[in-house]
C-alpha cells in the first residue's frame, strides 16, 4: 500500500526518515551546491558590492584633501613671486605655464583658474564663473595674493574641521548598495535558476516525480535567506570597519527590513521567471525591471532629485521603498513605525508578485 503524502510533501510516513534525506533538505542542499560551484555567482553576490563600496568610499574620502590647481602665466612679470604667494595657501597648487598651455589647461579643467600678473602691478584672473571650483579658486587665489602683498585681516578667524559619521557620502551610499544588492541577488538568483531549469526541461522532469512543488520553490527561498545573512553582514560590516558607517537603528528591525526586502525581490524574480523559456527573454525582462530602479530609486544619489511630477511613481518602486527604509534605520535610527510607509510598499510588492507568480508559473 502506498500512502499519500500530505500537501506539504512531508507526510507522517516520512517521520522516520533521516532529516538529511527529506526532499526539502536535499533540494536546499543542492541549491547551495549549485551556487558555490559557480564562482561567478559568488563574485557578483559577495565580492562585487564590497569592491564597489570600497571604490566609492576611497573616491569620496580623498575629496577632503583635494587641492585646486592654479596656473600662473609664466611669461608675465613677477610670475614666480605671484606663484609663491599663491602657494602659501595649502589648498592651492600653482604652476607656471605659458600662454597656450595655460589656456589649454583651463579649457580642459586641469586648472581651475589662470592668474596673470600685469605690468602695472594689478592682477588678472581668468576663470569660468559658471564652474563652482572656478569661483572658489578665484576667492582663494585673490586672498593669497592680497595677503602676500601685505593685507591684514581685521577679524582673526579659527578653523575647526568636523567630519560627522553618518552625513558623509559613504554613509549615504552603503544603504543604497545594500538595497541594490538585495534586489540583484533576489531577482537574478531566483529568476535565472528557474528559467535555466525550465530551459533544460528539468522542471518538467521534476514534476514527473512525486516532488512537492511548494518545497521546490521553498528551497529557493531558504537558500536566498541564508545568503541574505551573509550579504548583509559582509556589506554593513565592511562599511562599519573600513569607513565607520554607523548602525543607529535597532538591529532586529534592520533584519526584518532586509528579510522582507529579500522576499519581495525574490517574489518579483519568480514572477519574471514564471513564463520565460530562454535566458535571453529572462535577462531582457530582468533588465527592464531593474534598470529604472537603478536610476530612479536613489542608490547613488537622492531619489528626491527627480521632478515632483514623477515622484509618486518613484516612491512606490520596491527599491526606493527598500533604500528609504534602510537609510532611515541605519543613518537616522528610525523605528519600524517611522518607516511604516516604505515597509507597506515592500510587503505589497511581495504579496502581489507572489500571488501573480503562482497563477502564471509554468512547469514545462
Amino acid at each position: 500500500m502506498k500512502t499519500e503524502p500530505g500537501a506539504s510533501g512531508v507526510g507522517p510516513q516520512l517521520s522516520g526518515r533521516r532529516f538529511a534525506d527529506r526532499s526539502l533538505v536535499q533540494l536546499t542542499l543542492n541549491r547551495f551546491r549549485e551556487f558555490y560551484r559557480e564562482p561567478e555567482a559568488v563574485f557578483w553576490v559577495f565580492i562585487f558590492p564590497i569592491l564597489l563600496a570600497a571604490g566609492l568610499g576611497i573616491a569620496f574620502k580623498n575629496r577632503k584633501a583635494d587641492v585646486t590647481k592654479v596656473a600662473v602665466l609664466a611669461t608675465a612679470p613677477n610670475a614666480a613671486v605671484i606663484r609663491d604667494a599663491v602657494a602659501r595657501d595649502s589648498a592651492l597648487s600653482p604652476e607656471l605655464l605659458d600662454d597656450s598651455a595655460s589656456a589649454r589647461a583651463l579649457r580642459t579643467g586641469t586648472v581651475a583658474i589662470v592668474v596673470v600678473p600685469r605690468a602695472d602691478g594689478t592682477v588678472e584672473y581668468r576663470y569660468d564663473a559658471a564652474r563652482p571650483e572656478g569661483r572658489a579658486a578665484r576667492t582663494l587665489a585673490d586672498i593669497a595674493v592680497q595677503r602676500a602683498a601685505g593685507r591684514t585681516d581685521p577679524v582673526a578667524a579659527h578653523d575647526v574641521q568636523i567630519t560627522e559619521p553618518g552625513s558623509r557620502y559613504i554613509d549615504f551610499v552603503i544603504p543604497g548598495l545594500l538595497g541594490m544588492n538585495l534586489m540583484g541577488s533576489g531577482i537574478w538568483g531566483l529568476g535565472f535558476a528557474v528559467v535555466d531549469a525550465r530551459k533544460k526541461k528539468l522542471l518538467k522532469r521534476l514534476v514527473a516525480t512525486p516532488m512537492s512543488r511548494a518545497e521546490y520553490l521553498t528551497s529557493f527561498l531558504l537558500q536566498r535567506l541564508s545568503l541574505l545573512i551573509v550579504e548583509v553582514v559582509v556589506l554593513l560590516g565592511f562599511g562599519a570597519l573600513a569607513f565607520g558607517v554607523p548602525l543607529r537603528g535597532s538591529l532586529w528591525q534592520l533584519g526584518v527590513i532586509c528579510l522582507l526586502s529579500s522576499l519581495s525581490f525574490s517574489a518579483l524574480g519568480l514572477l519574471i521567471a514564471s513564463r520565460a523559456k530562454t535566458m535571453e527573454a529572462a535577462s531582457g525582462l530582468m533588465n527592464l525591471v531593474m534598470l529604472p530602479m537603478w536610476i530612479l530609486s536613489g542608490v547613488f544619489f537622492s531619489a528626491t532629485k527627480f521632478p515632483a511630477a514623477i515622484q509618486p511613481v518613484i516612491q512606490v518602486l520596491p527599491l526606493t521603498a527598500v533604500i528609504n527604509a534602510l537609510r532611515a534605520n541605519i543613518l537616522q535610527g528610525a523605528g519600524l513605525s517611522d518607516v511604516a510607509r516604505p515597509v507597506i510598499v515592500i510587503v505589497a510588492w511581495l504579496v502581489v508578485s507572489f500571488l501573480l507568480a503562482l497563477r502564471l508559473f509554468r512547469w514545462r
Binding site: 503524502p5 534525506d21 526532499s23 536535499q26 543542492n30 559557480e38 533544460k200 526541461k201 516525480t209
Partner: protein, 338 residues
C-alpha cells in the same frame, strides 16, 4: 510506384496478428490502457484516436518515425500533457483523481532532460530518491546503472551514454512498477546503446512493465515483447516483433540496383520464381526490393532475367526481413528518412 500487391497481404495478416494477440492475453492484467486518445497543437493533429493496451510485466514499444505522435502519447500517459479527448488508465488509476499516488509508482525518463551539471552523480540520485516515499538505495541504483566509478563525478563531465544511464537511474530510484522511456538511446554510440539495453532487460526480468518509444527498429526487435507501429498519430500495426515480420509473408528481402536508364517492370519482377512480391524504391531510380521466403530460388531467377535482358546489376544484397520492412510495407516510407 511501389507495387500495390505488397500491401494487401500485409494488412490482412496484420489484422490476424492483432486478433491472436488480444485473444491470448485477455486474462492478463493491464498496466496501461489508452482509448481513443486525441491531441492537437494548433492545426497539427499529433495524436488521432490512438488505442493501446499494455500488459503488466511486458516491455511494450511504440515504434514510428519522428513526428508520429509517440512522445505526445507517452507524455499524456505520464500525466505531463492533457489530452484533448480519450481516456488513459494507468495501473488501474487515472491522472485526474490519483495523480499523487501514480507519481510514486511510475519511473520516467524524458527525451531531453538536462540534469544539473554542477551536481555529482550521487547527489543527483539522492535528490530524486528524496522525492519518493519508498524506493531503492542510492548505492544500489548507482551499481545497477554501472556508474560506480563516476559516483562523485560532476554530471557535466559525463559522456552521453553515462548521462542517459543517470537519467534512467533517476527513473528507477523510486522502484517503479511501470517505467516510461522516451527515445532512450537516441544519439548514443553502439556500446552505450547496448549498456542501456542491458539495463532495460534487467528491469524487465524483475517482472515490471516498460513502455518505450523508439525510431530504431533493432531496438524494438531486441527489447520489446510487443510493438505498436505508430504513424500520423494512430497505431497502424500491433504484435510481437516476430509476428509483425511474419505478417509480411516472406522472411527475406532482396535489394538490388540497376542502371537508371534501364528501368524494370515491377509487375514482372513479382512473377519471378520464388518471389512473393516486388517494389521499386521510392525516390531512387533503378533500385528495387523483392520479398522472398525461398532465397535459393528467387536470386537465381532474378539473375537469369537480368542476364536475358542484358541489364547489368550494380548492387545486390539479401537480408532477413525486419520491422523496418513492416513499416515500409505499411506506409511506403522508411522509419528514418535520411
Amino acid at each position: 510506384m511501389h507495387g500495390s500487391p505488397l500491401h494487401v497481404p500485409a494488412c490482412r495478416s496484420l489484422a490476424y496478428v492483432r486478433a491472436i494477440t488480444v485473444n491470448t492475453t485477455t486474462q492478463m492484467r493491464e498496466a496501461l490502457r489508452v482509448a481513443s486518445l486525441t491531441k492537437t497543437y494548433g492545426d497539427v493533429v499529433a495524436v488521432r484516436g490512438l488505442d493501446l493496451s499494455v500488459w503488466a510485466g511486458e516491455c511494450f514499444g511504440l515504434l514510428g518515425p519522428n513526428g508520429a505522435g509517440k512522445t505526445t502519447t507517452i507524455e499524456i500517459c505520464e500525466g505531463l500533457l492533457e489530452p484533448d479527448g480519450g481516456d488513459v488508465e494507468i495501473l488501474g488509476r487515472r491522472w485526474a483523481t490519483d495523480g499523487r499516488q501514480l507519481r510514486e509508482r511510475l519511473g520516467i525518463s524524458l527525451q531531453e532532460t538536462q540534469l544539473s551539471e554542477k551536481l555529482t552523480v550521487r547527489e543527483t540520485i539522492r535528490l530524486f530518491r528524496s522525492f519518493y516515499a519508498n524506493g531503492r538505495s542510492v548505492d544500489d541504483i548507482i551499481a545497477a546503472v554501472q556508474l560506480e566509478e563516476k559516483r562523485d563525478g560532476r554530471v557535466g563531465q559525463l559522456s552521453g551514454g553515462q548521462k542517459q544511464r543517470l537519467a534512467v537511474a533517476c527513473a528507477l530510484v523510486g522502484d517503479p512498477e511501470l517505467l516510461f522511456l522516451d527515445e532512450p538511446t537516441t544519439g548514443l554510440d553502439p556500446q552505450s546503446r547496448r549498456q542501456l539495453w542491458d539495463l532495460v532487460e534487467k528491469f524487465r526480468a524483475t517482472g515490471r512493465t516498460i513502455v518505450l518509444t523508439t525510431h530504431y527498429m533493432d531496438e524494438a526487435e531486441r527489447l520489446c515483447d510487443r510493438v505498436a507501429i505508430v504513424d500520423h498519430g494512430t497505431v497502424i500495426a500491433l504484435g510481437t516483433p516476430h509476428e509483425l515480420i511474419a505478417s509480411l509473408g516472406a522472411a527475406h528481402v532482396v535489394e538490388f540496383a540497376v542502371a537508371a536508364e534501364t528501368p524494370l517492370d515491377v509487375a514482372s519482377l513479382a512473377t519471378l520464381d520464388g518471389v512473393s512480391d516486388a517494389a521499386a524504391e521510392q525516390g531512387v531510380a533503378g533500385r528495387y526490393r523483392l520479398r522472398s521466403s525461398e532465397l535459393h530460388r528467387a536470386v537465381p531467377s532474378l539473375l537469369a532475367m537480368l542476364g536475358t535482358r542484358n541489364v547489368p546489376l550494380t548492387e545486390l544484397t539479401t537480408r532477413s526481413a525486419s520491422l523496418e520492412d513492416v513499416f515500409v510495407a505499411l506506409t511506403g516510407r522508411h522509419l528514418r528518412e535520411d
